[in-house]
């Protein structure tokens, strides 16, 4: 009896793994149906719990490169006696192997590897060359673009492997492509965050600083209207001037304002003046988007110019990444139409992942365009209010 249920359990488990339904399987053993049902559900819960246990694509990728380095290293050792290697600790061997990879990369072999496919011996070197390119790229935006271009390469390699029916290579290259898609998204996000920080530091100031344009005041008089949203701003001391000055106060972290001869000083202000007016900047460029012309009282935009440049660059990067992922989708889609049956499942996975990433990047770009429009509207609204006043 016990042996029978063990056999029945194993048979059902195998059949379920092949795609048969639980009911159909359990019903074929009516005498054990209830017990089998409970046990099989337990197994599937165990498998569900264990599902997140997967090596990260990054680790798999580097581990593969490292293994290839070790292979190259070991193959250069004399076969009969290996006292040097056998005496080394594994981590030292790995370090030496990694060093060897760097040496190989720096040789002319690197050039020859540029067209290598995943099933070719030089492919490991090709990946290592790409890693060195990434290591030499310091800016987040450039890294995001480079990763997107690498995704394009991976898509072409996946298509080539699928065309040859090498499904295992399709899967392993897809793992690398997925990792590189993630990295492209991560570095783009980082760059976006840095742009958003600049935006965040400029927009509130524009919204909270209200400067009333007034005619030149008589000597000993200054007019400064500042919405006291921050304690520092309320403590601003208007400069005393003898030549007639309108003083503008930017949102300031210290509230330190000085002016003697018709100049405006704004602490913690802009990253650069756009209109050549006399502006003293102190400390980190975090606040203050406008300054007031001494004579006309008109607001002059400063940081939005810088922000606009960064936003334009961000848009360009997103467009490039979109172009790369769109091209990858096209390449994979075309390959899917021609792929042999054994490679279709893997190829389909790669295509789904590339499509998903492409849609995500497109959505981000649309959101970016909307965000770009919003600050303009806000600024315009503020100015209009001021003019009304």
């Amino acid at each position: 009896m016990a042996k029978k249920i063990e056999e029945a359990f194993n048979d059902c488990f195998e059949r379920l793994m092949s795609g048969e339904s639980l009911d159909s399987c359990v019903n074929s053993y009516p005498e054990f149906a209830e017990e089998l049902d409970v046990m099989l559900r337990t197994v599937f819960d165990v498998k569900r719990k264990a599902y997140p246990v997967q090596p990260s694509p990054e680790f798999k990728y580097w581990s593969r490169v490292r293994l290839q380095g070790v292979q190259s290293y070991l193959d250069r050792q004399p076969a009969p006696s290996q006292p040097f290697f056998s005496g080394l600790r594994a981590n030292l061997a790995i370090a030496l192997a990694s060093f060897l990879v760097i040496i190989i990369v720096s040789s002319s072999t690197a050039f020859a590897s540029s067209t290598a496919l995943p099933d070719q011996p030089l492919y490991g070197i090709k990946l290592a060359v790409e890693q060195s390119q990434l290591a030499l790229t310091t800016s987040d935006s450039k890294k995001a673009e480079l990763y997107a271009r690498l995704v394009e390469k991976r898509a072409e390699e996946i298509a080539a492997m699928a065309n040859q029916g090498k499904s295992d290579k399709v899967d392993s290259t897809t793992a690398i492509m997925n990792y590189q898609l993630d990295q492209a998204a991560t570095f783009l996000q980082r760059y976006e965050t840095s742009v958003a920080e600049v935006q965040a530091s400029t927009l509130p100031a524009a919204a909270t600083t209200t400067t009333v344009p007034v005619p030149p005041p008589p000597p000993q008089e200054t007019t400064s209207t500042t919405t006291a949203t921050q304690p520092a701003a309320s403590s601003v001391t208007a400069p005393t001037t003898t030549t007639g000055t309108t003083t503008a106060t930017g949102t300031s972290t210290s509230g330190q304002t000085s002016g003697t001869t018709g100049t405006t000083s704004t602490t913690g202000a802009a990253t650069g003046g756009a209109s050549g007016q006399s502006t003293t900047t102190t400390g980190k460029s975090t606040t203050g988007t406008t300054s007031t012309d001494n004579k006309t009282g008109q607001k002059q935009p400063q940081q939005p110019v810088v922000s606009a440049q960064r936003l334009a660059e961000l848009n360009k990067i997103k467009a490039n990444i979109n172009a790369s992922t769109s091209k990858s989708v096209t390449v994979l889609q075309n390959a899917l139409d021609k792929a042999p049956d054994n490679a279709r499942a893997g190829l389909s996975n790669a295509l789904d992942r590339a499509k998903l990433a492409n849609q995500k990047f497109l959505l981000q770009q649309q959101q970016q365009l909307q965000l770009q429009q919003q600050p303009n509207t806000t600024n315009k609204g503020t100015t209009d209010t001021q003019n009304t006043k």
Partner: protein, 180 residues
């Protein structure tokens, strides 16, 4: 199996590409097998790399007729884990929970998944050795009954019995019920 046998023979003859194929076929399974037996992701990663380096070092002396390749590879993994655990037990111990918390990436995203994996690791640790080995090889690394039997040097009938008993024990440990 035939394809794997051919690949292994090519790897024995020094074909590095064949070994890379083998590596791709078994990497995830070996990683999962090790992961549930050690304290952290970092340890699992180090040991997984070690297993494949040792396999590459030893493949020229490997003979299929003595032991199927998958079984041979998992024996390397098993021995490597045993060595590691012995070494770790001589050093300062870190709790499973602490090690998992350290190894996780995004704490918010990972916490629930980590907890389930942690629960599973704890339950597996409480099983008798033979049941734990069978459950890990069969349900975590997804080996066939024949492969598990070869790896453990037991008959398929014994493995099936151990498998059934392991599931009954896991049910009790995970949900406090005993049905089997």
């Amino acid at each position: 199996m035939l394809i794997e046998e051919q690949l292994v023979q090519r790897a024995i003859n020094g074909d590095k590409d064949a070994f890379t194929h083998i590596y791709d076929m078994h990497f995830d399974k070996i990683y999962r097998y090790i992961y549930v037996k050690v304290r952290s992701q970092a340890e699992a990663e180090d040991l997984t790399q070690d297993v494949f380096i040792k396999a590459y070092e030893g493949i020229r002396s490997y003979k299929w007729r003595d032991l199927p390749f998958t079984a041979w590879l998992f024996r390397i993994a098993h021995n490597r884990v045993i060595d590691h655990v012995r070494k770790a037990s001589r050093e300062k111990k870190t709790g499973l929970e602490e090690a998992d918390a350290i190894s996780s990436g995004d704490p918010v995203y990972m916490s629930e998944q980590n907890f389930e994996v942690y629960q599973l690791k704890v339950a597996l640790q409480q099983l008798p050795d033979a049941q734990r080995e069978v459950a890990t090889l069969r349900f975590i690394s997804e080996l066939s009954i024949a492969e598990v039997a070869s790896a453990l040097g037991k008959s398929e009938g014994t493995v099936k019995a151990l498998q059934f008993n392991a599931v009954a024990s896991l049910r009790k440990l995970l949900y406090g019920k005993f049905d089997g």
